[in-house]
Amino acid sequence: MISPYYLQLIILVGINTIMALSLNLIIGYTGQLSIGHAAFMSLGAYCSALLTLHFNLPFIVSLLGGALFAAFFGILIGIPTLKLKGDYLAIATLGFGEIVRIVCLNLEITGGAVGLRGIPKKTTLLWVVLAVLITAFILNRIIKSRIGRALIAIREDETAADAMGINSTYYKILCFGVGAFFAGLGGGLFAHYMRFLHPKSFDFMKSIEQLCMVVLGGLGNMWGSFVGATILTVVPEMLRSVADLRLLIYGAVLILMMRVRPQGILGESPANGGFKNNSYSQWIQTRLKKSLRKRSGSDKT
């Protein structure tokens, strides 16, 4: 019989894998820098917990309800904000995440600052493993399809994607909705495992942690998300014996990692990193090429 502590770690690895996979779809595959992913997790967590508590719904229904609720907000937020690019989108999602946290902190129904207690424990290892497999399966199918190609094309060059007849706004919103759906699913599993919810665990730092999982594992790599989630869940636990140095090491590792292997542990493209061609660096590249052209004296209309 596996000890409850290791079981808990495995379950958290599973939930974090779902979070990282869904965020990877948004950042790694579609190239949209979102740093408010924890907000979708909290929406799913609170919604599914409340469905269980107030309506006593079957677990699967609560989970799906939470996931759909998160997806709804993902789309709702995606419609206006996805017009923004690069850093600006990141900041808007950050702001959205903070707003969700503050609202959860002040609502009656979420238990506010006291937190939501007494959520029944329904998440088991089986549920989590199933959820991870289903998430990975569905996301993999999406990525390997026509839709996935469109998403990657948007990441690589939005203007060119537009010119190929891809409605980039539609696909970005779709990817946000799907990402939020699975984040909400992860949140629901989390709520029914922890049996307690408080907005404190869905703050800006949580979103950053999830971002780090994706980047550490490798952007645009499904296995990478699993590796990243595992490392960032397990390693802090292993470092418990040096508690006060834990976050210090975490910070240093992030810097070092970006220096030595910015594409992540399982990242593919060595020289320049798979994420390079977002619209901003595209802009810089264009400028570079332009200045080269200027020197070679050829036309630029």
């Binding site: 000890s3 409850p4 502590y5 290791y6 808990q8 770690l9 958290l12 902190l105 002040n106 506010g112 600052a113 006291v114 937190g115 207690r117 424990k121 989390f190 922890m194 049996r195 307690f196 408080h198 404190k200 665990s201 390693v235 802090p236 636990e237 292993m238 470092l239 418990r240 014996s241 040096v242 508690a243 006060d244 834990r246 976050l247 590792v253 070092l256 030595v260 292997r261 542990i265 060595p270 020289a271």
Partner: protein, 383 residues
């Protein structure tokens, strides 16, 4: 190409080193030996924020526990037993607290846990220690009904409700105040203080304004200006000392002439440093008065000062008492988790440095509330 290869090699090397390092750190001295110097070890787990924004509270709690444990081990009062602390950090994040609780009960197999510090942390661990049947006593988690329905969860801290009610009564009857304003911090502590104070004060007199702030806020002028508009004669601050000191300062700057009132969260020397003259005359409920001349209190204060070169605050004192309660439980019943649980549950009129303490059937604390007043830059006992 060569550069790339070199980079990959470096990466692999660094990664392997890291894994090795972590492996060593993780598997390091995982002692299974339950004896030390021929004595049987009783493991006390602690859970609290040692890093992050709430680290100050967690650190002081841990220090209070350490003083009590050192004392007990040195005095030999436990005979063939020796206490050992296993402390776990939460970063102030309750989901990490859940991991800490789980680790303590499964891996370290602690006999008893003192913690957690923040109510959300304790709430997240409640079910874990209940499942594992490990008694846990929190020295500072004050949220309403936290221990209810959990026979393994206790706490040793003033009830927010009792503090707020007693201060409201004192303010109206002894200080003759009648128009109250409340400024509370938006967490479980501030909120339950506010709820209780508002109810009682409205019953006895009138509450004219209620405003809220966030932990870590620095500028309160907006809330204070709104409060000033309502002309209260007193301001009840339901929060912690850092913010309270700043609130007092800024209220003074705005020319507000109000009697400051507060709860145990204010009782720390930092309040006096930050607030300076602005906190003169403030009243606050407390469970701990460091200048109390009784030997028990002075022994603790001196031992603490010697070890940490700092004055102990309420968090440290309550943690010390919680540890003492555990030690008494071990002495009276025995060292197993079940025995400690019985011992803690049976605590009655325990003479702690934070007053006479009993544990009721819900695991909650019944203890005296004292009222402190700031006079000439020092806390003195007003009641």
């Amino acid at each position: 190409m060569i550069a790339r290869k070199k980079k990959t090699t470096i990466f692999t090397a660094v990664f392997l080193c890291l894994v090795l390092l972590l492996g060593v750190a993780g598997c390091g001295p995982k002692e299974s030996a339950d004896t030390e110097d021929g004595k049987t070890v009783i493991k006390i787990g602690t859970v609290g924020p040692l890093s992050g924004t709430a680290a100050a509270y967690g650190t002081n709690v841990l220090r209070g526990i350490e003083v009590a444990v050192d004392e007990a081990n040195a005095s030999g009062e436990l005979g063939d037993y020796v206490l050992k602390i296993v402390s776990e950090d939460t970063e102030g994040d309750w989901s990490k607290a859940a991991n800490a609780f789980q680790k303590l009960v499964d891996i370290d197999k602690v006999n008893v846990i003192i913690g957690a510090v923040l109510s959300s942390e304790t709430a997240a661990g409640g079910d874990i220690i209940k499942d594992a049947k490990v008694p846990t006593i929190s020295p500072s988690s004050t949220a309403v009904d936290l221990t209810k329905g959990n026979p393994y969860l206790f706490r040793n801290c003033l009830s927010d409700e009792v503090q707020a009610i007693q201060l409201a009564e004192y303010a109206v009857k002894e200080l003759g105040l009648s128009k109250f304003a409340i400024l509370y911090t938006n967490n479980d502590y501030g909120k339950s203080l506010k709820d209780a104070f508002e109810a009682k004060a409205n019953e006895l007199a009138e509450v004219v304004a209620v405003e809220v702030f966030m932990d870590g806020d620095e500028n309160f002028k907006s809330q204070l200006t709104s409060i000033k508009e309502k002309n209260p004669d007193s301001l009840y601050i339901a929060g912690y000392y850092t913010e309270a000191g700043k609130i007092a300062q800024q209220a003074k700057e705005l020319g507000m002439n109000v009697q400051l009132l507060g709860a145990d969260g204010l009782c720390n020397v930092v309040l006096l440093q930050i607030g300076g003259e602005a906190v003169e005359g403030a009243y606050a409920t407390s469970g701990f008065y460091p200048d109390d001349p009784t030997p028990a209190v002075q022994n603790f204060v001196n031992a603490y000062k010697e070890k940490y070169n700092e004055d102990p605050d309420m968090f440290a004192a309550q943690a010390y008492d919680a540890t003492r309660i555990v030690i008494e439980a071990i002495k009276s019943k025995g060292p197993s988790s079940e025995e400690i649980r019985e011992g803690i549950a049976a605590t009655k009129d325990f003479p702690g440095i934070t007053g006479k303490t009993s544990i009721d059937e819900e695991g909650d604390t019944i203890k005296d509330v004292i009222i402190l007043k700031v006079e000439n830059g020092k806390f003195i006992r007003a009641r």
